[in-house]
């Protein structure tokens, strides 16, 4: 039984070179030599250095249990952050290859909107005046990344990549800015001194975000050979994250009088990336 199976496998292997070709009507009598596939540049192995930007799209569902609903302006935001990759491509066949990539990827987004905020005037008086505030949150989350992708080359210079990337959170920082746009209310510092109608707060909030995230990446690029050994490959990538950006936050936005509670759930961030790569023969 085993012998018959092995014979079958052997015949299957030889069938390829018994077929006719453009040189021989009866096909070649010996198997073609084992040859190396042509890679992204020329050789099967290629090293790539990629620089680019991630256009991040942040979103979350905001549920508010008590009025007013001023935090709903935080439902979405977007922003651009830099990325840097070091990648290796190995050609499995002339068309198909596999790529691995290590990189640094900074996701950045800004949410902005107007909200009605109670303003305690004068401070510590217990008297609150509703006032219109423009609230902006600028958030940056940096990741170390590692990914693997299948690469398909077609029509000479077009390249499609499909793969997955692991994101390991490095650090995160935020800047919040509030500007009072109506009324005479001012912001006060901790000791009760008026600081004007604009206040800004910055800091690190690394632990607020998930430490590990997975994304599915799909990109399309175009090869532009620059020389015998160097190829310029710009590509546009879509990055869909399978892991939420952060866990749910169920107690944000405490109101000093009403004590209302917000729930921030389904906190997500996906991205579009424009990547400019230089690939070198290895």
């Amino acid at each position: 039984m085993l012998r018959r199976f092995l014979l079958g496998v052997l015949l299957l292997g030889t069938a390829g070179y018994a077929d006719e070709d453009v040189l021989r009507p009866q096909g070649r009598s010996t198997p073609p030599p084992q040859v190396m596939a042509e890679g992204l540049v020329k050789n099967p192995w290629a090293l790539g250095v990629e620089l680019g930007g991630s256009l991040s799209f942040f979103g979350q569902d905001v549920t508010q249990y008590q009025a007013p609903t001023y935090q709903t302006n935080l439902t979405s935001g977007s922003g651009l952050g830099p990325l840097l990759n070091l990648a290796v491509d190995y050609a499995l066949t002339d068309a198909l290859g596999i790529q691995t990539r290590l990189g640094y990827d900074q996701k950045h987004f800004t949410t902005s909107g107007f909200l009605d905020s109670p303003c305690e005037t004068p401070p510590r008086s217990g008297l609150f005046i509703p006032t219109r505030v423009e609230h902006t949150t600028s958030q940056t989350i940096a990741y170390w990344t590692g990914g693997v992708a299948l690469r398909y080359r077609f029509e000479e210079n077009w390249v499609v990549l499909a793969g997955a990337t692991y994101h390991s959170r490095s650090n995160a920082s935020f800047t919040e800015t509030d500007s009072i746009t109506s009324g005479t209310c001012q912001f006060y510092d901790d000791v009760g001194n008026a600081i004007g109608q604009r206040r800004q707060e910055s800091g690190s909030n690394t632990s607020a975000f998930n430490a590990a995230r997975w994304s599915i990446d799909l990109s399309v690029g175009y090869r532009i050979p620059l020389s015998e050994n160097i190829v310029f490959l710009p590509r546009l990538a879509g990055q869909v994250f399978l892991t939420p950006l952060a866990g749910d936050n169920l107690s944000f936005g405490y109101h000093p009088v009403l004590g209302q509670v917000y729930a921030f759930t389904n906190r997500r961030l996906h991205a579009l990336q424009l990547v400019l790569g230089l690939w070198f023969n290895l």
Binding site: D19, V22, L23, Q34, V35, E156
Partner: protein, 495 residues
């Protein structure tokens, strides 16, 4: 008997001397391996652009595919695989028009379908890329194995190899001609075919010298390269091209470069990289006749941006189109081989431009030379003008018959651009009185208008004017200058 011995005794030294002389006269041929040979088969070389671009077939990736190398500073750059011809199990053996804008290939199990087994396919170059190949269909293709085409430099005759029934056995050589807008039924080259294999035909740029490979008895072993020359409609007795090109192994795919001592071929002889390898042979021991080559760039006359235009070369004597080609969409470059001792009309046409025509004289003593002719196409706009290639008898205003293809082109242009109004401007040289030349130029312009109106063009769209000798193109009295000044121009006056 004694008489025969005497005859033999006299003939023997003559024969020996002839052999010695032949060996002495035959140049020492050197062969050099191609620097990008692979461990697989590398074969079927094809050259375009006067030797600046080399195509070949290789199975270095595991399947037969076509690769292209470009020459830079006398060195071949590393080959690139052509990936746009469509999916097939095997693709190879390209033959190209001299300008490199059209390619006929062989393919097995091509996605565009086939008549059966390996067939011939054609692809055009568009904006720098090769289109997906389409089958050439019957009668060129058959249910048998049809492969290894070679297109004559005028694009009108196709040689190929096939094992179809009707030959002498094995693989045979066939020829088909472009007649009446289609390929004729292939005819076997019975004067070259044998019961053994004949394959990898290659017609040289002179369209007379044919190289092919055969494993017929009498060679050096395996397949050898043979050469035969067209005499009338039949080829001469094929001659073995000899060593060092032929060897005891298989030697195939011989091509000659135009006006060059270089030839390329493939061989699986020992010492190569494996399988068939490409070799360069210098000098080519069986040179084809020299030809005239012409090249240039088609450009926008205003911006100088290259234009991909259709170019038609017509033999003015026989009024036959001898070449139909296209300049490269990206570079505007074109390249064509011509027969010396003829007069040609070169016409360039692009829908967005005023067409351009010029008469080119190629004297016999130009043989072996490369002529440069750049073509500037005027955009379709007011005041754009083109010289019409029209001919009149001396001192007469009757159109000669060789003018008609040009005027038919002008009529086609006017039909395709109904918004355009033109003025036909007649000019003469400086021989004769002012008044006489003025009248003659007017009558010639009117003759052109009359023909265009007879072709259905509204006469209101055409005005005429005769300038006599008042607006010479070249201020000189030489015969060449006078020839340039005797002209009829078509100028756009409204669009």
């Amino acid at each position: 008997m004694k008489r025969w011995i005497l005859v033999l005794a006299a003939a023997l030294p003559i024969a020996v001397m002839a052999q010695i002389q032949q060996r002495t006269l035959r140049p020492t041929v050197e062969i050099f391996p191609f620097e990008y040979n692979s461990a697989g088969d590398d074969f079927c070389p094809a050259i375009t652009h006067n030797g600046a671009t080399l195509y070949f077939t290789s199975d270095r990736s595991g399947e037969q595919r076509i690769y292209v190398c470009r020459s830079r500073g006398g060195q071949w750059r590393s080959p690139d695989r052509i990936r746009t011809l469509g999916d097939a199990k095997q693709v190879g053996c390209p033959t190209l028009t001299p300008d490199g804008q059209l390619m006929i290939i062989s393919a097995y199990q091509h996605e565009s379908g086939s008549e059966g087994r390996t067939d011939l396919y054609v692809s055009k170059r568009t904006e720098g890329y090769w289109d997906k190949a389409v089958p050439l269909g019957a009668p060129l293709n058959s249910s048998a194995w049809d492969s290894q085409a070679s297109l004559s430099s005028d694009g009108r005759t196709l040689y190929f190899a096939s094992d179809r029934p009707g030959g002498k056995g094995g693989i045979d050589l066939y020829r088909s001609r472009w007649l009446g807008g289609r390929w004729s039924a292939p005819e076997p080259l019975s004067e070259l075919n044998t019961e053994f294999d004949e394959m990898t035909p290659s017609i040289a740029p002179d369209n007379k010298t044919l190289y092919f490979a055969s494993n017929r008895p009498g060679g050096l072993g395996g397949y050898d390269i043979y050469v035969a020359r067209l005499q009338g409609t039949r080829f001469s007795q094929p001659q073995n091209i000899g060593t060092p090109i032929n060897s005891s192994d298989n030697d195939i795919s011989y091509i000659a470069l135009p006006n060059s001592t270089t030839a390329y071929f493939a061989s699986d002889r020992a010492g190569g990289n494996g399988g068939y390898d490409l070799y360069r042979a210098v000098p080519n021991p069986e040179m084809p006749e020299p030809v005239v080559t012409m090249h240039g760039i088609v450009r926008n006359s205003t911006t100088q941006i290259p234009v991909g235009a259709d170019i038609i070369i017509t033999d003015l004597k026989t009024r036959q189109k001898v070449a139909t080609l296209r300049s490269d969409d990206e570079t505007g470059e074109y390249y064509v081989t011509l027969t010396a001792g003829r007069s040609y009309a070169v016409t360039a046409y692009h829908p967005d431009y005023l067409f351009y025509s010029e008469q080119i004289e190629v004297p016999t003593d130009e043989r072996g030379r490369d002529l440069e002719k750049n073509i500037d196409l005027a955009p379709i706009a007011s005041e754009s003008a083109t010289r019409l290639l029209v001919f009149f008898d001396f001192d007469k205003a009757d159109l000669k018959e060789e003018s008609l293809p040009e005027l038919d082109l002008a009529a086609t242009f006017l039909r395709e651009h109904p918004e355009v109004k033109i003025r036909i401007e007649g000019h003469t040289d400086d021989v004769g009185s002012d008044d006489y030349n003025l009248q003659l130029s007017r009558r010639r312009a009117e003759a052109v208008k009359k023909y265009l109106v007879s072709k259905g063009i509204d006469e209101k769209r055409i005005s005429t004017v005769g300038y006599g000798k008042s607006q010479p193109k070249v201020k000189d009295t030489s015969p060449e200058a006078r020839a340039q000044n005797r002209r009829v121009e078509m100028k756009i006056v409204a669009k």
